[in-house]
């Protein structure tokens, strides 16, 4: 009898220990910690968008939004952890517009040239999206977004002027070989090509959508979301814009992507959509010009490669940012009911995994809810930009660092 009790006792203890160990293990896997670096308050009023990139100097360049006033381009020194104010848009342009007419956002993706030059562009804020009084009704009017370059070697800022009258500059991809910058104008959605060599701008007409992210492939072709269900493509060889009808492979319904990033080899585009259920993979080798619809030029295959949200959740959430890691994986936050998960899609094994709930080191009460841009440094560290918001305690407008998260294994 004693033996039976002893045996039962040990079984019970073992089960208890394994259960606790299992729970502890699960607990550790549920969270992913980042370090937070608030952006200087004098340069913004709480937000900023896709404008973040790592320079050749290893520093992080961030564009801020200052509604009704002047946006700033700031630099985060990753070694000293200090910020520099590089561009005060109104100071450089000598513009004095307020409200609708101010250069209040660096929204376009920051672009880095092969020579280390940083390119940044402004747009309007405080928009009245329906009436647009700045077009023709205001006595002043928004002059148009400016394109700036900054040379970190000389600290010289150049204002390259307004790319399109009265319109802001959005999107942003760079072709370092051809020395071209690609943007689109807001609100009219015109595709703009800026030639770095000549300083000239070409307008190819409307793209039919407002893609915050555009992707560039190994051939220098640029892609973005256009009309519903359509991806547009700019081909530098023909110097034309094409509309590609999206043919979906896999489960679910196609949703126009918000984030689009090019794969390491530039032959695929990884994407996710706001509220999208699936991670998407556009296969650029499937582009066909045998048009299947009369109002497009061709088609492209998009595959739904996996659910965009963790297994323990029942629905997708907000996916506003994403980036390609040095390991070739696609990293994106997915905020579901005010819980910010960090997700990772590995194209090698085709799996989407949840890396955990994002928490801020030393600030466990903060919930980084709205990521608006991301970049990856050469050692695989991922920086993301979060606007000032929170489910509980309000998070300051900051960049956060996931140290060597995507380092090559």
């Amino acid at each position: 009898m004693n033996g039976f009790i002893q045996k039962t006792y040990w079984i019970f203890v073992s089960v208890f220990i394994f259960t606790i160990a299992g729970l502890t293990q699960q607990y550790k896997q549920q969270y992913i910690e980042c370090e937070m670096f608030p952006i200087p308050e004098s340069t913004h009023n709480g937000s900023g968008y896709t404008a973040i990139e790592v320079g050749k100097d290893g520093n992080i360049y961030v564009g801020t939004a200052y509604y009704g006033s002047s946006a700033h381009l700031v630099r985060f020194n990753v070694r000293t952890l200090k910020w520099d104010d590089i561009i005060d848009a109104h100071k450089i342009t000598r513009e004095t517009g307020t409200g609708l007419d101010s250069q209040s956002k660096f929204h376009a993706k920051i672009l880095v040239d092969a020579n280390g030059i940083i390119w940044a562009a402004t747009k309007q804020g405080n928009e009245n999206f329906i009436d647009r009084p700045e077009f023709g009704e205001n006595s002043t009017g928004y002059p148009g977004g400016h394109l700036f370059s900054f040379d970190p070697k000389t600290n010289q800022v150049i204002d390259h002027g307004i790319l399109r009258k009265q319109e802001g500059i959005m999107g942003g991809s760079i072709d370092r070989k051809r020395r071209k910058l690609y943007y689109w104008s807001d609100p009219k959605q015109h595709f703009l090509i800026y030639d770095i060599e000549t300083g000239s701008v070409k307008d190819l007409g409307t793209i039919g959508g407002s893609p915050r992210y555009t992707a560039i492939d190994w051939k220098g072709r640029v892609f973005g979301t256009g009309r519903p269900g359509i991806i547009w493509m700019y081909d530098p060889e023909t110097d034309k814009l094409y509309d590609l009808f999206v043919k979906l492979e896999g489960p679910g319904q196609y949703k126009d992507p918000y984030v689009m990033v090019s794969s390491l080899d530039g032959r695929k585009i990884f994407a996710c959509a706001i509220g999208g259920e699936y991670v998407m993979e556009f296969d650029l080798d499937t582009i066909s010009f045998a048009s299947e619809t009369s109002d497009t030029d061709g088609s492209i295959i998009c595959r739904h490669v996996g659910k965009s949200y963790p297994e323990n959740e029942k629905k997708p959430g907000d996916q506003h940012a994403g980036v390609l890691g040095k390991d070739g994986c696609f990293y994106f936050p997915n905020v579901i009911d005010k819980t910010p998960y960090l997700m990772k899609y590995n194209p090698e094994d085709g799996k989407v995994v949840c890396l955990g709930i994002i928490t801020v080191k030393g600030n466990p009460d903060l919930r980084p809810l709205y990521a608006q841009g991301a970049c990856t440094t050469s050692d695989g560290t991922i920086y993301m930009k979060f606007i000032s918001a929170g489910g509980g305690k309000q998070m300051p407008y900051s960049i956060v660092r996931f140290n060597k998260l995507s380092a090559k294994r």
């Binding site: 999206f129 077009f135 034309k240 509309d243």
Partner: protein, 321 residues
């Protein structure tokens, strides 16, 4: 006495509010997709034939040769090679986006203003016949001919357009007689070379409404030759299109780099009502300028937006009660 004054004021206030409410215009815009690839959708001319079919013309460009299509509410949009035998078709004119042209009322002649501002008439199988150079030049512009972008027609089939410094010309398509009129499009001093005719429509009473490059609206009585400047409904330049229906002039204006806005001119009250930007039923803003606009026999406005993804649209307007 105070009481009477109060009651009278109250009644007047209610009456004025009611009349103001009556004036609020209802506006419904529907987009009709065109089944042609991007860059091949820039419809610049629409017209309706006796059988109720709407025909459209897309000029040639770097991306495509010219296209003709017809639009049937039931059967959709279909491309065709040629218009009927009863319509004169000169491809070098109708597919040229830089030439202002129109048919006469019989569709047997095309009257055009060429790139140098000369009136030319085309008939079936015949070469163009130059009639008269009417355009002036615009200072400070490289290719500065003052060329109007529209013809107006009166109830007898005579055509009208504007030439140098906004002077109106009357063209009789039958006799090919061209008369220089006394009437002149409105312009502020110094802007006369920009007083070109951008758009025109004819009212049911025969009065012609004219829209200018600088954004003025004028009425012109072809019987008396009287032109009245009705003013500028928008702050922007350019009148993109005008149509007359239900007793009012419906117009869309704004610069190509600006944003199209609509307005209504009521000849009875001599008032403009401003409608604001163009939005579709989903409240999405229309960004591209309007190329052309017509009123169908059924009383529906059909028009076209320009640009790479240009499309057709229908508009229904009416008064909200």
């Amino acid at each position: 006495m105070k009481k009477v004054f109060f009651i009278t004021s109250f009644i007047l206030l209610i009456a004025s509010s009611l009349s103001f409410c009556e004036g609020i215009m209802k506006f419904d815009l529907d987009i009709i997709n065109i089944p042609f690839p991007p860059y091949q959708r820039n419809v610049t001319k629409l017209f309706e034939t006796q059988n109720g079919l709407i025909y459209g013309i897309i000029p040639s460009s770097q991306s495509c040769s010219g296209k003709i299509f017809y639009f049937d509410r039931n059967a959709g949009i279909h491309q065709i090679q040629r218009l009927g035998d009863d319509v004169v078709q000169v491809d070098s004119i109708i597919f040229n986006p830089d030439i202002t042209w129109t048919w006469d009322k019989t569709f047997k002649k095309i009257i055009a203003i060429d790139a140098s501002g000369t009136l030319v008439v085309y008939e079936k199988n015949g070469p163009g016949k130059e009639i008269l150079k009417i355009a002036g030049t615009r200072p400070f512009e490289n290719q500065g001919f003052q060329i109007s972008r529209a013809f107006a027609s009166d109830t007898h089939g005579n055509l009208y357009t504007a030439g140098k410094n906004g002077i109106l010309f009357k063209i009789n398509p039958e006799t090919l007689e061209v008369r220089k009129l006394e009437a002149r499009l409105p312009a502020i001093k110094g802007r006369e070379p920009w007083a070109s005719l951008d758009a025109a429509t004819t009212g049911s009473d025969g009065i012609i409404y004219l829209g200018t490059f600088d954004g003025y609206i004028a009425s012109f009585n072809p019987e008396t030759g009287t032109l009245v400047n009705l003013g500028k409904p928008l702050r922007q330049q350019r009148i993109q299109a005008l149509v007359f229906l239900n007793g009012v002039v419906f117009g869309i204006g704004g610069e190509p780099d600006g944003l199209a806005r609509w307005f209504v001119y009521d000849p009875l009250t001599r008032n403009f009502q401003l409608g604001g930007t163009l939005k579709n039923k989903e409240n999405r803003l229309i960004y591209e300028p309007v190329n052309t606009m017509i009123v169908t026999k059924e009383g529906e406005i059909i028009g076209s937006f320009s640009g790479r993804l240009g499309c057709l649209f229908t508009i229904k307007i009416g008064k909200e009660k």
